[in-house]
Every structure is written in structure tokens, then in C-alpha cells.
């Protein structure tokens, strides 16, 4: 399989994953699923980095993926902590119900 086909298909998969993640964030009301969707988006971005690194034959892409992985772990830690607090406070995981603003 040539590098060009790999790049094209790989980026297409990454884009599809990213859009799936984005749609998940937009349409899901449950905060837990929104967090999951964000993880998918992050992984889509990481996949794009890895594919690009493979295309140029460099390790930078995989380094970036490690960074993203670490950041995702941190984000999930904070996100799940917030999620717990929210679920305690409003007894619900509906993200829209959390809004206290009157705009």
C-alpha cells in the first residue's frame, strides 16, 4: 500500500472519528457521554498526528500522540471529578439542567 493511499484513507478515518465525536458532544445531553465523545475527538486528532508522522517518516507524530494521551488523562480526571460534583448537586447528569444562567 502506497504512502499516499495510507495518508488519504487514514486522514479520512480520523476526520470521520472527529466528526462523530463532535456530533456526540453536540447531541448528547448526558455529561458522561459528552466526555466520552470528547475522548473520541482527541483520539481522532492523535490519529491524524500519527498518520502524518508515518507519512513523513518522523517520530514527532507519535510524540504528539503521547502528549495528547497525557492531556486526555488529565482532562478525564478533572472532567470526572466535576461530573461527580454535578451529579451530587443536581441529581442528574443532564448538561442542560446545570445551566443557571438566564441568557
Amino acid at each position: 500500500m502506497s504512502a499516499g493511499v495510507l495518508l488519504g484513507h487514514g486522514l479520512a478515518v480520523a476526520s470521520i472519528l472527529f466528526v462523530i465525536g463532535l456530533i456526540g458532544v453536540l447531541v448528547r445531553r448526558n455529561l458522561l457521554f459528552q466526555l466520552l465523545s470528547i475522548e473520541i475527538m482527541l483520539n481522532a486528532a492523535g490519529m491524524a498526528f500519527v498518520i502524518a508522522g508515518a507519512r513523513w517518516g518522523q517520530a514527532d507524530g507519535q510524540v504528539m500522540f503521547i502528549f495528547i494521551l497525557v492531556m486526555a488523562a488529565a482532562e478525564v480526571a478533572v472532567g470526572l471529578a466535576l461530573l461527580l460534583r454535578v451529579s451530587r448537586r443536581v441529581r442528574d447528569l443532564d448538561g442542560d439542567a446545570v445551566s443557571a444562567m438566564r441568557g
Binding site: 458532544v25 453536540l26 448528547r28 455529561l31 448538561g95 442542560d96 445551566s99 444562567m101 441568557g103
Partner: protein
């Protein structure tokens, strides 16, 4: 004795009523009525006494150039602009202060009884005193600035007193009308004074007049402009055409007010102004013609209106407008002394008609419709005789009345002075017919015929004394100036001609004069006879005339004062009110309001985006990212 009289300062004359005003205004509410009456009447009485002393000194030791000046203090001193609070006494102002202080005193005395039951007793006297003070200041002022102060002051008092019974909205409206209409004239006058000041550099009457005579050519544009503007002021104050509409409505005030302000003194201030600034008018022949036309037109117009009025005071108001028309005519013909003479006699006899009319109104419990009066001759004898005398003087019955001598002088000037013209004489003579007719119509309707109305209040001494004194004065008053065939007394013109120019006679034939006098006397008697036939004898003619379409239309037209009110309503009041209605919502505020509204709607649009919903925010971020990428990719 002379020294004592001559040491009397002139400023006491206006100052005494002013003090009366201050006292009444400050503590009037707490004073018992008797005290308020004593202060109000006494201050004017003392002023009249001072006038007498000052006049005696002036007549016995005439000042060198016919004028005695007294500077009380410097009022304004800015650069070259210096206005002294200075008073000048010359023949013209002497006649005026005589009329104002004496007639004023008698009317104050009359008012103590007329207003006795009124709640605003001390307020009334405070206003009246203020009026007398301002009026005396107006006529004594040595400069036009001070004159203007007095001029506006009497306008203010006129407003306050017309609207004296302010709880009735109609009175307030009449007061506003008087104030606003005269303001039109006053504005013209203010412009005239400013013009005079910018050109002559002074507002001192004598200096400004001397300057005008020296520097302005006869008939020059500036002179004509200033004269016409001054005429505008005079026309407003003296209720002449076309600003006459306020005076009939001004009768809403108490009767003593109508007598003092709107018959004897303030309304004649216009004539006084023209006489005071006669030098400018002499330089402006077109303005003089305008004065003559205004005078002649006004006297005919008001004469016709007086014929059909049914309110006793409105008849008298129109008659006042007419008589001032005569004065204007006299002034325009250069018969200054005759006009001033008529001003004096009119001041006496018009009050002599107004005060008995007031007594009748009071007796019938504020009834003013003449057709609800009748047969009062026997029940109010003194009032009847004084009213008859006043009306006779108003109608200018020959020989016995003051009005005859003064009106006759003006009519003779209309024929014989160099500015005169036969048509002016005809207008005046026709006016004499009308006056005789309507003044005796009043006498016959009110005092003769069947007894109507219930006399509730018989006039007491405080009403009767002023009536009798005025009756005597208005008879004697005529004899200070008599025609050639009756002693040829010229005391009055000798006095006034120290200040005012003499008449420039074009005709000096005394036979013509006598013949014209006979004609006018005949016309007057004809008018009285007509009134007798139509109103004293049972006659169906007045009602028959009123029944014809033309008669009915004319009667309505004249009753409404030749439709001037409607005309002004259409021409000025409605457009003004429409404009006010239009501007009520402040359309110019819309500009700034629009800015505020844009900011407000921007704010509400932006705040709607701050919903607090994570998904909306995420959507915003996503769209933003797409747009940003698209921009990068596509450009």
C-alpha cells in the same frame, strides 16, 4: 411754602405705592381688612397729595427747559452704557401722574367697598398698589430703559389682576390672552429701543430724540423703522387694530381693575409712548399715516362692535378701544396737546362710566347682561346720575361735558391740521354718531324701562364719594381748554406745548371750525335721539333688524369683534398648538434615543448567547473552527 413744595422729591410719587405694595405683600395676609384698605388706599392717596405738591411747584416755578430731572441712583453702569434710575417731570408726565394718582386714589377708595367681601382683599390692594407704582414709573421715566421696566411692570399687574379670580379657568385664559397679545407689541418696542440704542448710543429720551432729529433725515428708513416698531408697542398696549382683541376679554377682572388699568391709565400708555417719542414720529411721515389709519380704523371697528354687545363691561371695553383710537388719530395729526387732553378727560369720564357700572353689577349680584337690567334709575339715583354724566361725556354732548371739548379738538385737527384729511374727519364724525348711540343705548336699557333684577346691595359712601368727585372733575376737566367761542381758555395746551410741538394748522378759519362743531354736535344729538327712539320708546326696530339675515349676520360678526379672535385662532393659535402637539414626543430626542435602543437590542442579543448550555457553546466553537479553517484553506 413754595420752598417746602419744591423740596418734595419726585421719587416719592411712585415710591409710596411701591412701599404700600411691599407692606401688603409681606404682611397683608395677617392684617385685618381695615388696615389693608388703609395701607392700600392711603399710599396712593399720599402719592396723589405729593403729586399735587410737585405740580404746584412745577407750575409756579417752571424749570428752565420745561423739565425737572431727578436722578435717584445709577442703575446700570457698564462701559459707555449708563442707565440712571432717574425721573423726569415735564408737562406730559405731569398730566399723566395727575390722572394716574388721582384716578388711582379714587378707584382704590371705591375698591375698599367693592372688594369688601372678597377673600383676596389684601392681595387685590397689593397688586393695585404695584400697578400704580409701575405706571407712575413708566410716565416719570427719564430714559427708555426705565420706561420699559414700568411698561412691562404694568403688563404684569394687568395679567395678575385680570386673572384675579383665578379659580375660574376663563379668567386665567383672559389674563394669558392679554399678556401674550401685548407681548407681541412689547417685542416690537424692545426691538425699537435696541435699534435706537445701537444708533444713538443712548436710551435717555431727550438725548436720543435730539440725536434722531439731528442725524436722521425725515423719511429715512431707520426713522420709519423705529417709529413703526414703537407704534407696534403702542398698538399692543393701547389695544388698537390689529392687537385689540385682548381688551374685551380683559373685562374678566374686577370692575375697579377694568376702570383703572383697562380704561384710564395703562391702555393709554401707548398714546403716551408715541407722545414721548414724538421726535422720531415727526421724522417718519409714513409711520404717522399708519398711526392715523390705525386710529381711524380702530374707532370705526370698535364702534360697530360696541353697538351689539350685551355685557355692560364689554360695551365699555369697546368704547375704550374707540376713544384711544381718537387719541391715536389726534397724535397722528400732530395735535399732541389735543390727544393728551382727550387722554386726560377720557381717563376721568371713562372711570365715571365704569365705576357706576361696577356699582350696578355689585347691586345686582354680579349680573353683567344689560338686558337683565332695567329701571334702576329710581333705586340707584346717585349711580344713575353719575353714569348719565359719564355717558354724556363719552358721547360728547355739547357744552356741558368734558368729552365734547377734547374730542372736538381732535376732530377739528382732523379737518384743519396740515396732516388732516376730510375722510379722517368723516370717520371721526361717524364714530361720534356711533358713540352717542351706544352710550345712550346703555343708559336707556340699564336705568330706564321696566324694573328688572333685584337690588341686593346699595352702594355705600366709599362708592358714592369717588363717583361724585369724578363727576365734578369730569365736568370741570373740560374747561381747562375751551374753543374760541367759549372764553378761549388755553391753559392745557399752554402747559403741554412746553414739551410737545404745537399743531401745524392748514386751515385757521374759525367760521369753518364753528360750523364743523355745530355739525358734530348735531350728529351727537342725532345719535342720542336714535338711541331714545329705539330703546326707550317701545320699538320693534332693533329686533326686526336682528331678524333679517344681514342684520343677524352683522350682529354676530360685530358681537365677536369682527371675527378677529377666530382669525387669530386659525392663523396663530391652532398652528402653534398643532406644532406643540407634534413636538410633544420630542422628535429630536429620537436621535439619541435610537443610539440607546441599538445598544440595548445589541445587549439583549448578546446576552441570549450566554445561555450556560455546554452544547451550544461547543456548537459555537465548532462553527467558529470551521469558519476559521475555511478562511485559511480558501484564501
Amino acid at each position: 411754602m413754595d420752598d417746602l413744595l419744591c423740596s418734595l422729591p419726585i421719587w416719592l410719587v411712585p415710591a409710596l405705592p411701591a412701599v404700600g405694595f411691599v407692606v401688603l405683600a409681606v404682611v397683608g395676609g395677617q392684617l385685618p381688612r381695615r388696615w389693608a384698605a388703609v395701607i392700600g388706599t392711603g399710599s396712593v392717596g399720599l402719592s396723589a397729595a405729593t403729586t399735587l405738591g410737585v405740580a404746584a411747584c412745577f407750575l409756579r416755578h417752571p424749570p428752565a427747559d420745561g423739565v425737572r430731572i431727578e436722578t435717584v441712583w445709577t442703575w446700570i453702569d457698564v462701559g459707555s452704557f449708563e442707565i440712571g434710575f432717574s425721573l423726569a417731570l415735564d408737562a406730559l408726565s405731569l398730566v399723566m401722574i395727575f390722572v394716574v394718582s388721582f384716578v388711582g386714589f379714587l378707584i382704590h377708595l371705591y375698591s375698599t367697598e367693592y372688594m369688601a367681601d372678597d377673600e383676596g382683599f389684601s392681595r387685590f390692594f397689593a397688586y393695585m398698589n404695584l400697578f400704580v407704582a409701575f405706571m407712575l414709573m413708566l410716565v416719570l421715566a427719564d430714559n427708555l430703559f426705565l420706561l420699559y421696566l414700568g411698561w412691562e411692570g404694568v403688563g404684569l399687574c394687568s395679567y395678575l389682576l385680570i386673572g384675579f379670580w383665578y379659580t375660574d379657568a376663563a379668567n386665567g385664559a383672559a389674563a394669558q390672552k392679554a399678556f401674550i397679545v401685548t407681548r407681541v407689541g412689547d417685542t416690537a418696542m424692545a426691538v425699537a429701543l435696541l435699534l435706537l440704542f445701537t444708533h444713538a448710543g443712548t436710551l435717555d429720551v431727550r438725548q436720543a430724540m435730539a440725536w434722531a432729529t439731528e442725524n436722521w433725515a425725515p423719511g429715512s428708513t431707520m426713522a420709519v423703522a423705529v417709529a413703526l416698531l414703537l407704534l407696534g408697542g403702542a398698538v399692543g398696549k393701547s389695544a388698537q387694530l390689529p392687537l385689540q382683541t385682548w381688551l374685551p376679554d380683559a373685562m374678566a377682572g374686577p370692575t375697579p381693575v377694568s376702570a383703572l388699568i383697562h380704561a384710564a391709565t395703562m391702555v393709554t400708555a401707548g398714546v403716551y409712548l408715541i407722545a414721548r417719542t414724538h421726535a422720531v414720529f415727526l421724522l417718519a411721515p409714513p409711520a404717522m399715516t399708519a398711526v392715523a389709519v390705525v386710529g381711524a380704523a380702530t374707532l370705526l371697528l370698535a364702534g360697530c362692535s360696541a353697538l351689539v354687545q350685551t355685557d355692560i363691561k364689554r360695551v365699555l371695553a369697546y368704547s375704550t378701544i374707540r376713544q384711544i383710537g381718537y387719541m391715536c388719530l389726534g397724535v397722528a395729526l400732530g395735535a399732541w396737546s389735543a390727544a393728551l387732553f382727550h387722554l386726560m378727560t377720557h381717563g376721568l369720564f371713562k372711570v365715571l362710566v365704569f365705576l357706576p357700572a361696577g356699582a350696578v353689577i355689585l347691586a345686582l349680584h354680579h349680573e353683567q347682561d344689560i338686558f337683565r337690567m332695567g329701571g334702576l334709575r329710581k333705586r340707584l339715583p346717585v349711580v344713575f346720575w353719575t353714569f348719565l354724566l359719564g355717558s354724556a361725556s363719552l358721547a360728547a354732548l355739547p357744552v356741558v361735558t368734558a368729552g365734547f371739548y377734547s374730542k372736538d379738538l381732535i376732530l377739528w385737527a382732523a379737518w384743519a391740521s396740515s396732516a388732516g384729511a376730510p375722510w379722517l374727519w368723516v370717520a371721526g364724525a361717524f364714530g361720534a354718531l356711533l358713540t352717542a348711540f351706544y352710550s345712550f343705548r346703555l343708559v336707556f336699557i340699564v336705568f330706564f324701562g321696566d324694573e328688572k333684577g333685584h337690588v341686593e346691595h346699595r352702594p355705600g359712601l366709599k362708592i358714592l364719594i369717588p363717583l361724585v368727585v369724578l363727576a365734578a372733575l369730569s365736568v370741570i376737566g373740560g374747561f381747562v381748554e375751551t374753543p374760541g367761542w367759549l372764553g378761549h381758555v388755553t391753559a392745557f395746551s399752554n402747559l403741554t406745548e412746553t414739551t410737545l410741538p404745537a399743531v401745524d394748522w392748514a386751515v385757521t378759519d374759525h367760521h369753518v371750525e364753528h360750523r364743523l362743531q355745530a355739525v358734530v354736535a348735531g350728529i351727537t344729538l342725532l345719535g342720542v335721539l336714535a338711541a331714545y327712539l329705539l330703546y326707550l320708546r317701545p320699538s320693534s326696530i332693533p329686533t326686526a333688524v336682528k331678524a333679517t339675515p344681514l342684520g343677524a349676520w352683522l350682529s354676530r360678526f360685530w358681537l365677536s369683534g369682527w371675527g378677529f379672535d377666530t382669525l387669530y385662532d386659525r392663523l396663530f393659535i391652532r398652528p402653534f398648538k398643532g406644532l406643540a402637539q407634534l413636538l410633544r414626543g420630542d422628535p429630536f430626542d429620537e436621535i439619541s434615543a435610537t443610539v440607546a435602543r441599538v445598544a440595548e437590542s445589541g445587549h439583549s442579543a448578546m446576552s441570549r448567547t450566554q445561555s450556560g448550555r455546554i452544547r451550544t457553546y461547543a456548537f459555537g466553537i465548532g462553527v467558529g473552527a470551521v469558519i476559521a479553517v475555511a478562511i485559511v484553506v480558501l484564501t
